[in-house]
């Protein structure tokens, strides 16, 4: 009796494993003349819903898989782009059953291409007639690794326009139509806009290290001050370039003047949505990402605010920097290595990133701009009509048009981001001099980069 039970259990396990091992990336079976491809997308909530609508529109469009008569139908799966989900993606790729299309954050493309997680799309792009000139230069640079293209830009966020709260300006007795042009003006305005209440702050003019994290703040102001984070010709990390050091010293100067602990006390009440400090009037000036527009329109439609290019240094103390500085953020679409339907997958990627209808859906889904500068929506937005109907976006488009930078295209970008975050935190909290903090970030990242290059060389010589 016990023996029988034992054999039954073994048989059940065997059957279960056969079933489990036969599960491919998609559970559904395709209909007649249909090919199913799966897409992993990184947003939940409303953004996810809107993206699913875009995918629904693609499914309706009835795009045919090249070389066959199959209609392409996309199945979308929510997969947050965080460390553990990315691990799932890599394991799926290593296991041979990855999704056919995945979203990948701009700077991650180089890293994932280095890890051989993404397919080379260069040939398919060339055959589809998509050209480099169709995309904003920094966007295109992000998708290229070692001369081959591994992704197409899905959306391009201009980082950043300086949003300023006109009501706060008026309350402080400042001209609400005059945003700061230079760093010196910015500092002066920040002083006037910071309202103290006893020992604490009621509202602050500007928090330089609060631009979407310490690392993004360092990138933003580093470029504003005229620095370069990576020399791609020499393959060297250059984050301790004197301009960037000066940028970090300027960031630190706000700590000296206003005390980061007191600012942190005020910041701890900040949040998003209704608790967005800019909306609440607690933060008068803030470099804001383009999706901030949606937030403002939704939670504070009556808010009087303006958008201007970031101020730049122009004096003896801070040197000269870059006028109208910005960097591009945003997502890309890529096809993981080992996808079972790469041609069909590419049709979806092409529709979303390189056609007029697809890119209009991108705008609807994300509120951001497509990476394709020649698309119908952007041509409209750049026109007089677009400027009249949507002046805020038009302003941000001008910033994107002038944009020169993207985060360094290197296989250790996550590590670099973390090192920059540490450098800023050490300078702010442990009073480490800016030059030393950035020098150690450079040394550590360079070592990691050299290791990654050595790894790539070893692989290619095998």
């Amino acid at each position: 009796m016990v023996r029988l039970a034992k054999y039954l259990i073994i048989a059940a396990c065997a059957a279960l494993s056969v079933y489990v091992l036969s599960i491919g990336p998609i559970d559904e079976t395709p209909a007649e003349n249909e090919v199913l491809i799966s897409v992993w997308y990184p947003w939940a909530g409303e953004a996810g819903e809107r993206l699913r609508e875009a995918i629904g529109a693609f499914n309706q469009a009835g795009v045919i898989e090249p070389g066959t008569s199959n209609r392409i139908r996309v199945i979308a799966l929510y997969a947050r782009n965080d460390i553990s989900t990315n691990q799932k993606l890599f394991i799926a790729i290593a296991g041979g059953s990855p999704p056919d299309v995945t979203f990948v954050d701009g700077p991650q493309v180089a890293e994932w291409a280095h890890r051989r997680a993404l397919s080379d799309l260069t040939e398919m792009i060339r055959r589809a007639g998509i050209r480099q000139e169709d995309y904003y230069p920094p966007c295109w640079r992000q998708t290229v690794y070692r001369g081959r293209v591994y992704a197409l830009t899905f959306c391009a966020d201009p980082n950043f326009g300086l949003f300023w709260n006109k009501d706060a300006f008026r309350r402080a007795g400042l001209d609400p139509e005059r945003p700061p042009r230079t760093i010196a003006e910015l500092d002066a305005l920040a002083e006037r806009l910071t309202v103290r209440s006893g020992d604490f702050y009621d509202s602050i003019g500007l928090v330089p290290w609060g631009v979407y994290g310490s690392a993004n703040s360092m990138y933003t102001w580093g470029w504003v001050f005229g620095g370069q984070f990576y020399d791609d010709r020499a393959d060297r990390i250059t984050c301790d370039d004197p301009h960037i050091v000066r940028a970090l010293q300027w960031i630190k100067s706000y700590d000296r003047r206003y005390d980061k602990e007191r600012i942190a006390a005020l910041q701890s009440g900040f949040g998003s949505g209704e608790r967005n400090p800019f909306i609440l009037g607690k933060l008068a000036m803030h470099p804001t990402v383009i999706s901030g527009l949606r937030e403002i329109r939704r939670y504070a439609p009556g808010l009087q605010f303006g958008i201007a290019p970031l101020p730049y240094p122009d004096d003896e103390i801070w040197g000269t920097g870059e006028i109208n500085s910005s960097w591009v953020g945003g997502w890309c679409l890529a096809i993981p290595t080992g996808s079972r339907h790469p041609e069909a997958a590419f049709e979806f990627v092409r529709w979303l990133c390189a056609t007029d209808e697809g890119t209009e859906w991108v705008v609807r889904a994300t509120g951001s701009f497509p990476g394709m500068r020649t698309c119908r929506y952007l041509r409209w937005l750049a026109s007089d009509q677009g400027a009249a109907e949507d002046p805020a976006r038009n302003k941000l488009l001008q910033i994107l048009e002038a944009c020169k930078h993207q985060r360094p295209v290197i296989p250790v970008q996550a590590y670099y981001l973390d090192q920059l975050r540490r450098a800023v935190d050490e300078c702010l909290y442990k009073d480490v001099p800016a030059s030393r903090a950035l020098a150690s970030a450079r040394v550590n990242t360079q070592a990691a980069l050299d290791r990654a290059r050595a790894q790539a060389r070893r692989r290619s010589t095998r």
């Binding site: 290593a94 942190a264 005020l266 701890s268 009440g269 250790v412 973390d418 909290y429 442990k430």
Partner: protein, 263 residues
């Protein structure tokens, strides 16, 4: 398996490449490795003794035969049953400098509360405080062992004129010392493996100026943020050695302090 990986350069998907003790050498030269070890040691040195003391004090108090004692026992035990992640999120709000309970109470007595998690100096004290919230499990262990202390010993001591303090020091503590040793060792092991609370409360970063960059958090970052599986495996093995050494040391030291009734 992980020992094998600790001798390789491995990013999780590509084939591992043998590099010998390179990973260990890199770790010893890495300032963040030493920082994370220091953070973990500091946390453990404070959290474990405090935890034992608080749990012991509570157990002794709850051992009295008063009315409603089972209610009090339940009250002190329940927090340790709350899932760790939920508790961490809860404590992020307790420790909020502007709206949190602690600073609110401090404000009532006219003291300006610190930044807690947003202040590097107060991050570890905040986490130690949080660890005291979950002494319920340890407390129950002590309670159980307190039941085992023979009544005759107390009576004999009373006859000899011992007061409550001397009874505790000379009878209660020696009798339950094996249990205390057990909880100290488990506390040390747990302290060196401290991860979940730090991860949830700092969002996976090391907290303000890496004040909450504990050893296991750095290990996790190394493995999954920076894809250095070799380095992470090396860290895991070094942790094993550290915990082993500390446990052996504790056993050696305990011979002087622990009294086994059976022997």
């Amino acid at each position: 398996m992980s020992f094998h990986y600790s001798l390789t350069e491995f990013d999780g998907t590509a084939k591992p490449v043998f590099v010998g003790v390179d990973k260990y050498r890199q770790l010893l030269a890495d300032e963040l490795f030493w920082l994370s070890l220091r953070n973990t040691a500091v946390y453990t040195v404070f959290a474990v003794p405090l935890g034992v003391l608080v749990a012991l004090a509570l157990a002794l108090l709850l051992n009295m035969k008063l009315r409603g004692m089972s209610l009090y026992r339940a009250m002190f035990f329940v927090p340790s049953v709350v899932p760790v992640v939920a508790a961490s999120v809860l404590w992020v709000w307790f420790l909020n400098p502007q709206y949190g309970i602690f600073n609110g109470l401090l404000r009532l007595v006219g003291v300006a509360g610190p930044g807690w998690l947003s202040s590097p100096a107060w991050t570890k004290p905040a986490l130690v405080l949080m660890s005291l919230w979950s002494v319920g499990g340890t407390m129950v262990l002590y309670l159980a062992s307190l039941q085992d202390v023979p009544e005759q010993l107390y009576e004999a001591a009373e006859i000899d004129g011992a007061g409550p303090w001397r009874k505790t020091i000379h009878i209660t503590l020696p009798i339950i010392s094996p249990v205390i040793l057990f909880t100290v060792i488990m506390g040390l092991i747990g302290g060196f493996q401290y991860f979940t609370q730090a991860y949830v409360m700092t969002g996976g970063t090391g907290g303000a100026a890496d004040a909450a960059l504990f050893y296991c958090l750095y290990l996790f970052q190394k493995a999954f943020n920076f894809q250095d599986m070799g380095g992470a495996s090396a860290m895991a093995w070094m942790l094993f050695v550290v915990i082993l050494v500390i446990t052996l040391l504790t056993f050696r030291v305990s011979r002087q302090f622990v009294h086994y009734e059976g022997k």
